[in-house]
């Protein structure tokens, strides 16, 4: 019950008129940016992180939590009204959501998404309150070798498990790790990969990397392939739901939450798997199977709830262990560190006020989101009609502003352009962005833990292996890396057909074939 008292105290910090205003601004700006086509939650938080630089940490945090939830919700509006999900976690929402919108039920689709997100977000944040202290108790005994193993597991998970091509995943991860090593070595003070440039001595700021990859890279990529006529937007009135819609939505909301939270909380979980699982669950359990594929409300309610619950779930490893499991969390981690906080088991002990204020602002942001989005949906829908030259010019404009705000030097903008071209290349060649961004952020932390482990063992390499946690991690890593080989052996043992190439995408099920199966 101690937690509850802390939480109430946290609410006390948020519930001042000034702070509520910051939460409000965060939600409005976050939704407005998140709803723009082509901008997912990760790009939203990266673009808007610089606007918190001038604030004190508590206010920055409150503003940022609003941006986080606003960006999440904005994405689902886009996928329902435009059938073109901004990020993979909204793919499933678009399946039924856009069909509903086309059938004239856009208002109900938006309503079930908004209310479902609110309910899932609230329950998942409560779960966060309950679960996090347990994870902290567990994590507090972990040593550097264990952290190293957990981070390596996150690397391998992001590179090899998510995404379609392992070799491209590892390539992206290694590019990220290389960017992460730029700068002065923290222990010996030697410059690595700085080429004598003083601007690189402190490393490349994560805002520059994230904004470059997400915003500039996306704008350049779209510029090369601009669709000359914009997709048609479905007009929408105020979201509302009838009694029947409520009846059909509340169970999918709860089931989606139950699926989303745990997947968000495990390394390499993410939102794609739970939203997809929620979709197939609802399709199996529905009383209206004939509507699936034509706009079933359950197919929007469940995945949207799962999406939001998993977003709250990602905060568990982020705050308790300091481990980001998706791109948005990775940017939040660097934001927290920028404000002078080191996420990890000690954070809740050293900075309890901060942690509980953060959690309280999640509740507040989530509530604002519901209050705002029901009446404002028609206005958001108008944003979808912005002419594309203005939209992408605006994205580049905000990207330049964000990169300038970091250090106030033109060098960062040139760096932004270079990283934007890298972002162009990874889109062109199908390299995943998640391992890259996680690599940039965690490379210095991984190296630190590696060196600390060896320091404790006086240079004995055996010191790199810690307790049972690291053993478990290394076993999972070995399985993940050797998986193509294992799968091949299993097939051969069964005497089945010829094994396909190790890196081939052939042994995976695509979402489209599953959805029509």
């Amino acid at each position: 019950m101690d937690n509850l008292n802390h939480l109430i105290e946290g609410f006390g910090h948020v519930m001042t008129p000034g702070n509520l205003l910051y939460a409000f601004i965060g939600v409005v700006v976050g939704t407005a940016v998140g709803v723009l086509p082509g901008i997912g939650p990760a790009m939203t938080v990266a673009l808007l992180l610089p606007i918190t630089f001038g604030l004190d940490p508590t206010q920055a945090l409150i503003l940022f939590c609003g941006v986080f939830y606003g960006g999440m919700y904005g994405g689902s509006t886009t996928s329902i009204l435009l059938n073109t999900p901004g990020e993979s976690s909204s793919v499933v929402t678009a399946l039924e959501g856009n069909k509903m919108a086309k059938a004239g039920r856009a208002a109900q689709a938006l309503a079930t998404a908004a209310i479902g997100s609110f309910i899932a977000g609230t329950i998942a944040t409560l779960l966060l309150v309950l679960v996090m202290p347990q994870i902290v108790d567990f994590a507090i005994d972990l040593g550097s070798p264990d952290y190293l193993a957990i981070i390596l597991l996150a690397f391998v998970g992001a590179a090899a498990v998510l995404g379609s091509s392992r070799i491209r995943g590892f390539a992206a991860l290694l590019i990220g790790l290389s960017i992460g090593t730029v700068g002065i070595d923290a222990v010996t003070g030697q410059q690595r990969l700085t080429f004598g440039l003083p601007q690189l001595a402190d490393g490349i700021d994560i805002v520059v990397v994230a904004v470059g990859l997400f915003a500039v890279g996306e704008a350049l990529w779209v510029a090369a392939h601009l669709r000359r006529k914009a997709g048609s937007v479905i007009p929408v009135g105020n979201p509302w739901m009838g009694r029947e819609d409520w009846k059909r939505s509340w169970k999918p909301w709860l089931r989606g939450t139950a699926l989303g939270f745990p997947f968000g909380a495990i390394p390499a979980g993410g939102a794609e798997v739970p939203t997809f699982l929620s979709y197939i669950t609802e399709r199996k359990l529905t009383k209206h199977p004939e509507e699936f594929g034509k706009g079933a409300i359950e197919g929007v309610a469940g995945p949207e709830a799962a999406n939001n619950a998993s977003a709250a779930g990602t905060l568990v490893p982020l705050l308790a262990i300091g481990l980001p499991t998706n791109a948005t969390a990775a940017i939040m981690l660097s934001a927290l560190r920028g404000w002078g906080f080191e996420p990890g088991p000690l954070l809740i002990e050293k900075q309890p006020v901060l942690v509980w204020t953060l959690i309280a602002s999640l509740f507040v942001g989530n509530t604002f989101l519901l209050l705002l989005n029901l009446p404002l949906a028609p206005a958001w829908a108008k944003l979808l009609q912005i002419p594309r030259p203005y939209l992408y010019a605006g994205i580049i404009f905000f990207a330049a502003m964000g990169a300038w705000a970091v250090n106030g030097q033109a060098f960062d903008l040139y760096l932004l352009l270079v990283i934007g071209l890298l972002g162009f290349a990874i889109r062109r060649f199908g390299l995943p962005v998640l391992p890259l961004i996680i690599g940039v952020i965690l490379a210095p932390i991984a190296e630190l833990h590696m060196r600390r482990s060896l320091q404790l063992s006086h240079g004995d390499p055996a010191g790199l292996i810690g307790g049972p946690v690291s053993w478990v991690c290394y076993v999972i890593i070995a399985i993940a890396i050797l998986w193509p080989l294992i799968a091949k052996l299993v097939r051969m043992a069964r005497g089945g057909g010829s094994g396909s190439g190790g890196d081939g995408p052939t042994d995976r099920i695509t979402i489209s074939t599953e959805a029509t199966a």
Binding site: P37, S164, T181, R192, L193, V222, L226, A410, L413, G459
Partner: protein, 181 residues
């Protein structure tokens, strides 16, 4: 679990826009880039003094060396994958039309506009440089309403300057308009 991951590569038509006949040769460029990065890391690491002490048995060298070697290994496997016909699916999106080729003229123009805009922020200030940046990017992307483009650019530059620089304390320069804004 991994088998449920939404997968765009599995759909061979997903990359139809990028020259799919006879494999996607341009990928070798990416592959060469990876190998080049690996070599760069190794060369840079070789330059570092091998500092080792009792409280830092590892020193700064091993991590870049390991990364460099891994990059070369991955570049090799990547090349093999390309040679066997592997393609990475180019990213799709709401405004992306992969059926036509890449329009590098637009990209080049954007890069130039961005470079010029970046150079102008310090001398001219955010409002002027930002307006020009917006107008120039919109022009590069096909906007031909110059007055409207410039007007929107000026409007959002002023809004961001007052809202973020003055309201939220973000570091944006007033430049030559210092004292007027």
């Amino acid at each position: 679990m991994s088998d449920l991951t939404p997968d765009r590569t599995a759909d061979p038509t997903g990359s139809a826009g990028v020259e799919s006949k006879g494999g996607d040769r341009a990928q070798y460029g990416m592959c060469a880039g990876l190998a080049g990065l690996g070599v760069l890391l190794l060369v840079d690491a070789a330059r570092l003094a091998p500092v080792q002490s009792s409280n830092d048995a590892l020193g700064p060298k091993p991590v870049p060396i390991v990364l460099g070697v891994l990059l070369l290994v991955v570049a090799l496997f990547y090349a093999i994958d390309i040679w066997r016909g592997g393609v990475g699916a180019a990213e799709e999106g709401e405004d992306v039309d992969l059926s036509a080729g890449s329009d590098f003229k637009t990209v080049g123009l954007l890069v130039v506009v961005f470079g010029v805009g970046a150079a102008l922020i310090a001398p001219l200030g955010w409002v002027i440089a930002g307006s020009l940046l917006f107008w120039g990017c919109a022009f590069a992307l096909g906007n031909r309403h110059h007055i409207r483009g410039l007007a929107i650019g000026v409007a959002i530059s002023l809004i961001t300057f007052y809202a973020f620089a003055i309201g939220l304390g973000v570091n944006l320069p007033a430049g030559i308009l210092d004292g007027i804004l």
